[in-house]
């Protein structure tokens, strides 16, 4: 089939599309241009103008990046708050390896088990949960009296407190909570990837006397490379855009200790009505997300050809 497909594309290459065909794109394009593309350009534009509507080029960027809300130099050495930008990076640094590896390990563990859809569903529950509710649940599990995290810690003889209410632990407890919510994503993607690996590979390796360890690192991981690109890309995008969870669980507090970029953008725009600053943050966020998406764009274009 792919042979015909390929030939067909060669035949049509460089053929101009007719007006009639252009009509297929029209409704979607109109909506996207007015409600997505125009707002993007407008935000970019606003990020170069002062509140008095004077063109100031990169001044807003300097202001925002030197603001304590975004990067708190003192915090970087002395503890939280470190500022929204380092908080997002910390989120990626911890959350990405945890969810990716855990998802992979669970996918491998569940692979040949009977009734594995029950286990998969249990892990996947967090992905079905609206993040607003995810935020409620995180507050709930970390609470001093009603929270199960503290019950376990008390049982093990540790001190208990409301983890989301202290600057030292607020961000980290949200990050680990979000590992719990998001691991289902990488597990499900890897599960579908594992299903595509031919059984013969494993049988051949077993005949050659390979250990499960070697099989995992020499067969499973290399053959899941494409899945890994997707999991890593989508997970970083999620970590950069994180908003609802923090808004509901801590509102970025206490004292900005769990603040993140998307939330700070909201504060600038809809609490302080400082449009230039909020446009700068939005633009920075977009720059980061676009950078992360490059591998995905490349692979999509390769497939389209």
């Amino acid at each position: 089939m792919s042979f015909f497909h390929h030939q067909n594309q060669k035949r049509r290459k460089n053929v101009k599309i007719t007006l009639h065909q252009l009509a297929f794109f029209l409704p979607a394009l109109l909506i996207m241009i007015i409600f997505l593309l125009y707002p993007v350009l407008n935000t970019l534009w606003m990020s170069f103008f002062s509140e008095e509507n004077q063109f100031v080029f990169l001044d807003n960027y300097k202001n925002v990046l030197s603001s304590k809300d975004i990067i708190n130099r003192k915090g970087l050495t002395q503890g939280f708050p470190m500022g929204a930008l380092p908080h997002n990076f910390l989120w990626i640094l911890i959350h990405l390896p945890f969810t990716t590896f855990l998802g992979l390990l669970l996918a491998v563990l569940f692979k040949d088990l009977k009734y594995n859809y029950i286990f998969k569903s249990a892990i996947f529950l967090g992905m079905v949960t609206p993040m607003v509710i995810g935020g409620v649940i995180l507050r709930f599990v970390y609470e001093k009296e009603v929270g199960i995290v503290n019950a376990v810690l008390a049982f093990l003889g540790f001190q208990t407190h409301t983890w989301t209410a202290y600057p030292e632990t607020a961000l980290l407890s949200l990050i680990f909570g979000s590992v719990w919510l998001w691991t289902g994503f990488s597990m499900i993607i890897y599960s579908s990837g594992l299903g595509n690996i031919p059984k013969e590979y494993y049988e051949a390796a077993a005949i050659d006397g390979a250990t499960p360890f070697t099989i995992f690192f020499r067969i499973t991981i290399p053959l899941l490379k494409q899945m890994t690109v997707v999991v890593v890309t989508m997970t970083i995008l999620w970590e950069l855009k994180i908003f609802d969870l923090v808004y509901v669980a801590t509102m970025g507090g206490p004292g900005g200790a769990s603040n993140v970029l998307a939330l700070q953008m909201y504060f600038y725009a809809f609490r302080q009505f400082n449009f230039p600053n909020s446009s700068v943050i939005a633009t920075l966020l977009m720059a980061l997300t676009l950078f992360v998406t490059i591998p995905l764009i490349k692979s999509s274009l390769r497939e389209g050809k």
Binding site: V15, F25, P27, L36, L109, L113, L125, S192, Y266
Partner: protein, 277 residues
């Protein structure tokens, strides 16, 4: 053989333990929602005494300042059109991306992928101003339009990836017989595409139902707030009323859970195909 059995037993044990740990927080909110607050204030896992009641659900449903009944209804009112509109527009465009070739189409496709990565924050302020100028601020029509626009790049990408896997020979012979592109699309492509269309519907509905940010900036009248906007308002004034809060959370999860339980195949296929090929 014994060794294999032992390894399998360990695997099952591990899988069960991990799954139970993973589900515990959900069990916690359910256990808290069905019992009076004084029973769970020192932990929902203390099951003596255990007095199940629906009081928390009634209180959440008829909450004095943020009734969830109204919120659930509003959320449905927004989510249904916000799901159907983009799928109509996206399926047309996706067919174009799958079958028509020209430099312009390639350029537009790159644009679509770039829009997929967009953070909502990047459109927030202009959208707010635009809706204000159009007198659509604080209306569901405004929110529905934005949700439709926001869903388009994703649905186009997903459906396009599905359409290019369909064999092209039937379409070609239909064209030789004089069928137009639109006839091919509506008579040949759409009827065999329903699994992909259902996947798109499921994912877009879940997305709109769970959305918080767009509703937060566009909808502000107390009686118009959506379910996700009401839950943060239910915390209670002096202490957190966990009973009402957890009951509201459970109610708001019914729709996503229902979809996941009955349309799981489409949901997972959508999620995998949405992001991979």
């Amino acid at each position: 053989m014994k060794k294999v059995q032992a390894i399998n037993a360990v695997k099952y044990l591990l899988a069960i333990v991990i799954s139970v740990i993973w589900v515990l927080p959900f069990l916690g909110i359910v256990m808290t929602s069905i019992r009076p607050l004084q029973e769970v204030i020192y932990g929902w896992w203390n099951v003596k005494p255990f007095t199940p009641s629906v009081t928390n659900y009634v209180n959440a449903w008829n909450h004095p300042t943020a009734p969830l009944s109204q919120g659930t209804f509003n959320s449905l009112l927004v989510a249904l059109p916000s799901t159907l509109i983009p799928i109509l527009a996206a399926s047309l465009a996706a067919y174009g991306f799958a079958r028509f070739r020209s430099p312009l189409v390639t350029f537009l496709f790159i644009l679509i992928i770039l829009l997929m990565a967009l953070p909502q924050q990047m459109i927030a302020i202009p959208i707010f101003q635009l809706m204000k100028n159009l007198n659509l601020l604080n209306t569901y029509l405004g929110l529905i339009i934005i949700h439709s626009a926001w869903g388009l790049p994703w649905i186009i990408f997903f459906l396009r990836n599905f359409f290019i896997t369909l064999p092209i020979e039937i379409e070609e012979s239909a064209k030789i017989d004089g069928a137009s592109d639109f006839v091919v699309f509506s008579r040949i492509i759409l009827p065999v595409s329903w699994p992909a269309l259902i996947s798109s519907i499921v994912l877009q509905f879940m997305w709109v139902w769970s959305d918080f940010f767009l509703a937060l900036i566009l909808i502000y009248s107390p009686d118009k707030l959506l379910a996700t906007q009401r839950i943060p308002l239910m915390r209670g004034q002096y202490h957190v009323d966990w009973g009402v809060l957890t009951a509201a959370s459970v109610v708001s999860m019914v729709a996503p859970l229902f979809i996941f339980a009955f349309l799981q195949k489409y949901y997972v296929r959508g999620l995998v195909g949405w992001t991979t090929k």
